[in-house]
């Protein structure tokens, strides 16, 4: 397949996953903001959210103080923010239009439908929309796209590039979502282990739609160690870091089988999976959660660059 086609497919998946993460981040923010908080008041929490999403500089330039309403606009509707839900959906759809021939009409319908509905949402007065409605809408659209891909697409290299996009973006995003916890907690280390701390961990679980799943998997008291294990090390948890890098590895292996050629990206994915599979929760907390996540995000970024060089850049020989 053309490298450009593979690149577009890869990014369709990344944009859809990113749109979903933005919606989840907003959900986390809105819930945390409902809680009485320590010291800095509600502002610090919204700011931490902007930092975790990597959009705090752009936001500050445009709006200044982090007011909830402006943050909602910026993360959801703003086309000046390349990571906003609207920007992501528009670019996913534009990429799909470019590689229309590599998609089934069901997948195109799902992406095009999301874009058309998005434009209708933009025309509606904001006062008529609850944030929860918007975030649920995004998750529904993302589910439709994934469902259409799974149900109708040929299991060829294009399918692997889409899933690779989903996997790498999700790995990065889950790590960032967990990192919100770090930003929120940073001002007051005293809160670790307190009721507030647990509430924040639970909110994170909810945002990852993993609240119930967690209880099924672990039972008993919610502790930071259990949650970190669930979101980082448990292969059963579909958004856990180990699950996402395994998914990336599997799809890279599928490509290597199809092309009869394995390379640096496959090796790197394998070592990432091996490394994280052998990690224990205690080690993560010893290293420091934030430090661990930062390292992980960098590793995933490097793997992504290797995929780019091997398949998407068109420089492969």
């Amino acid at each position: 397949m053309l490298s450009r086609t593979a690149d577009n497919l890869f990014w369709i998946a990344r944009y859809i996953e990113r749109a979903e993460t933005m919606a989840r981040l907003l959900e986390v923010g809105a819930r945390i903001a409902l809680m009485p908080s320590a010291g800095h008041g509600y502002r610090s929490e919204w700011e931490s959210l902007l930092q975790a999403s990597g959009t705090s500089v752009g936001f500050a330039e445009k709006y200044g103080d982090p007011v909830q309403r402006n943050i909602e606009s910026y993360l959801f509707f703003d086309r000046d923010n390349p990571s906003s839900v609207a920007s992501c959906i528009e670019r996913a759809r534009e990429n799909a239009r470019i590689v229309r021939t590599a998609l089934t009409s069901q997948v195109w319908d799902a992406l095009n439908g999301a874009f058309q509905e998005m434009r209708q949402l933009e025309r509606k007065p904001r006062s008529e929309m609850e944030l929860t409605e918007l975030t649920e809408w995004v998750m529904r659209q993302a589910a439709l796209v994934r469902g259409a891909i799974d149900a109708t697409l040929l299991r060829n290299d294009g399918y692997a590039f889409l899933n690779l996009g989903f996997a790498l973006e999700r790995a990065d995003n889950t790590a960032r979502l967990i990192d919100v916890k770090y930003y929120v907690l940073l001002p007051s280390v005293d809160f670790i282990g307190s009721g507030l701390d647990n509430y924040q961990w639970q909110t994170l679980l909810r945002a990852l739609s993993a609240h119930r799943a967690f209880h099924w998997a672990y039972g008993g008291e919610i502790t930071a160690a259990k949650i970190a294990h669930f979101l980082i090390l448990n292969p059963q948890s579909p958004r856990s870091l180990v699950a996402t890098v395994t998914m990336a590895m599997d799809n890279l292996d599928a490509l290597a089988r199809g092309y009869h050629k394995s390379g640096a990206a496959q090796m790197r994915a394998r070592s990432l999976v091996g490394e994280i599979a052998e990690t224990r929760v205690e080690e993560i907390f010893d290293e420091g959660l934030h430090e661990f996540l930062t390292r992980f995000i960098r590793d995933v970024g490097e793997l992504s660059d290797m995929v780019q060089a091997a398949y998407l850049s068109g420089e492969a020989r």
């Binding site: 053309l2 086609t5 239009r97 021939t101 998407l312 068109g314």
Partner: protein, 470 residues
């Protein structure tokens, strides 16, 4: 302009090809019609067949209005058209091969040398080169209008990259889906063989150095182009890659595609970009769309380009007047399809006549297209006519004029019900190992009452075009 040929009714009688359609419209109440129209529109939008209108803002994904009332030809009418179209496509290709070779037609004094060699579209870069099978124009779109039961005129030839064939195919798909009954009652020749025929045509002109089954690709300027849908649609139907300039590179005398498995050799390029943008080393150095070195590979027989660079010299509006002469010169035949009588403003006496009669004539720019830069005398105000007069006087060689033809009309669904609207026809003739023409084409309709301009950029719509089987 009060009389014109109505393709459905003649002297109060329904003409034979439309016989079954009268009952169909009678059985369709307004409510059902509106529903079907909405359904058609939703289908077009879902499939994504849209086009962009430049410089007007608004919705970038606009639909070309689709009229559900089909335009019908009998088998006998079509056979006549088909013979005429193939004859013309053959002559145009013979002309191209000749003017890039010995230019016998110029030596014989049948066409002025200036008109060929000083033509903007004449490509010095391919002079002396013979493309595979000697074919320059592989897809010839010939615009035809009708003025009477047996009177057809060729309005213009499109030898480069005529667009619109996706509408011919999709209009039919949608009609069959919405009105299967109509297709049971009328025996209608299918058009869906087009994509296979196009593929065969492209494969048949593989370059000399291609030793295996040729790899074909469509070269598009990109997804911002107004015809991008058509490019991807055709690539999909033929099962070939849709490439942009940046996907290709030249190495070792061949053209290669950048793929996820490394370079893959490309043999035949069906390009949908203009000559000027093909190769920055050969044509416009500022082209971002092209492939550096492409023309070297082309000239050394490493790749075929369809249509061949330089094909445009056969289809400008001034060379058009010489096509009947080409048919006589190369084929030794009389033209089966007539040209519209044309005055060349470049000739002083003809220009004088044109300026004296602007109110009755249609004036066109020699290199214009898409209905832009054109004056329809009888439909224009005094001011518009005077503005155009000044333009012609400044650059007479840029203009030609034709009588305002009474274009035929076919019944069309309009606000008030059904009313006649003027139409033209663009069939797509394929020239490769064989010359092929699918029975049908794109009928464009001027939706405004009395309007003669059918271009989609000027408020025209499209119809399904039927050729009845014997």
């Amino acid at each position: 302009m009060t009389t014109y040929f109505n393709e459905m009714y003649e002297g109060g009688q329904v003409r034979e090809p439309y016989a079954r359609l009268e009952d169909w419209t009678k059985a369709m109440p307004a409510a059902l019609r509106a529903m079907k129209q909405a359904e058609a529109e939703a289908l077009f939008r879902r499939i994504g067949i849209t086009f962009a209108v430049y410089g007007e803002g608004g919705d970038p994904d606009r639909l070309i209005p689709f009229d559900m009332f089909p335009r019908v030809f009998t088998q006998a009418e079509w056979r006549k058209l088909e013979r005429g179209i193939k004859q013309r496509a053959r002559a145009l290709n013979a002309f191209l091969l000749d003017v890039y070779g010995r230019a016998e037609i110029v030596r014989a004094g049948k066409i002025p040398a200036r008109m060929v060699f000083q033509n903007e579209a004449f490509e010095r870069a391919v002079a002396g080169f013979t493309p595979p099978r000697g074919i320059y124009s592989h897809i010839v779109g010939i615009d035809i209008v009708r003025t009477g039961a047996d009177e057809f005129f060729v309005l213009e030839d499109n030898c480069r990259t005529p667009s619109g064939v996706s509408y011919m195919l999709e209009n039919r798909e949608i009609m069959m889906r919405m009105f299967p009954q109509l297709f049971r009652e009328n025996r209608i020749e299918p058009v869906d063989g087009y994509s296979d025929a196009l593929r065969r045509t492209l494969a048949s002109v593989a370059p000399a150095k291609c030793e295996r089954e040729p790899t074909i690709a469509i070269l598009t300027p990109g997804h911002y182009n107004s015809a991008y849908y058509e490019h991807s649609f055709l690539a999909d139907l033929m099962g070939v890659e849709l490439v942009e300039g940046a996907d290709l590179f030249v190495e070792g005398g061949f053209v290669w595609m950048r793929t996820t498995e490394g370079p893959k050799k490309l043999d035949v390029i069906y390009r949908r970009i203009d000559d000027a943008f093909l190769d920055p080393l050969c044509f416009r150095p500022d082209s971002m769309l092209g492939i550096p070195g492409l023309m070297d590979v082309y000239r050394s027989g490493g790749v075929s380009i369809c249509s061949a660079p330089g094909a445009g010299v056969a289809d400008d509006k001034a060379v058009y007047t010489f096509v009947p002469e080409m048919i006589r010169f190369y084929l030794g035949e009389e033209p089966l399809l007539n040209n519209v009588p044309t005055w060349q403003c470049a000739k002083p006496d003809e220009c004088k006549y044109v300026l004296e009669n602007l109110g009755e004539l249609v004036v066109k720019e020699v290199h214009g297209s898409g209905g832009y830069g054109m004056l329809v005398g009888p439909k224009s105000t005094k001011d518009q006519i005077e503005t155009f007069r000044a333009k012609i006087e400044a650059h007479p060689e840029n203009y030609i004029a034709q009588p305002t033809l009474a274009l035929s009309a076919t019944p069309t669904f309009v606000e008030e019900g059904i009313a006649p609207r003027h139409v033209d026809l663009r069939p797509y003739c394929l020239v490769g190992e064989k010359i092929e023409l699918v029975p049908g084409g794109l009928t464009r309709v001027a939706l405004k009452e009395g309007s003669l301009v059918v271009n989609s950029s000027q408020g025209g719509g499209v119809k399904d075009t039927w050729v009845l089987a014997e």
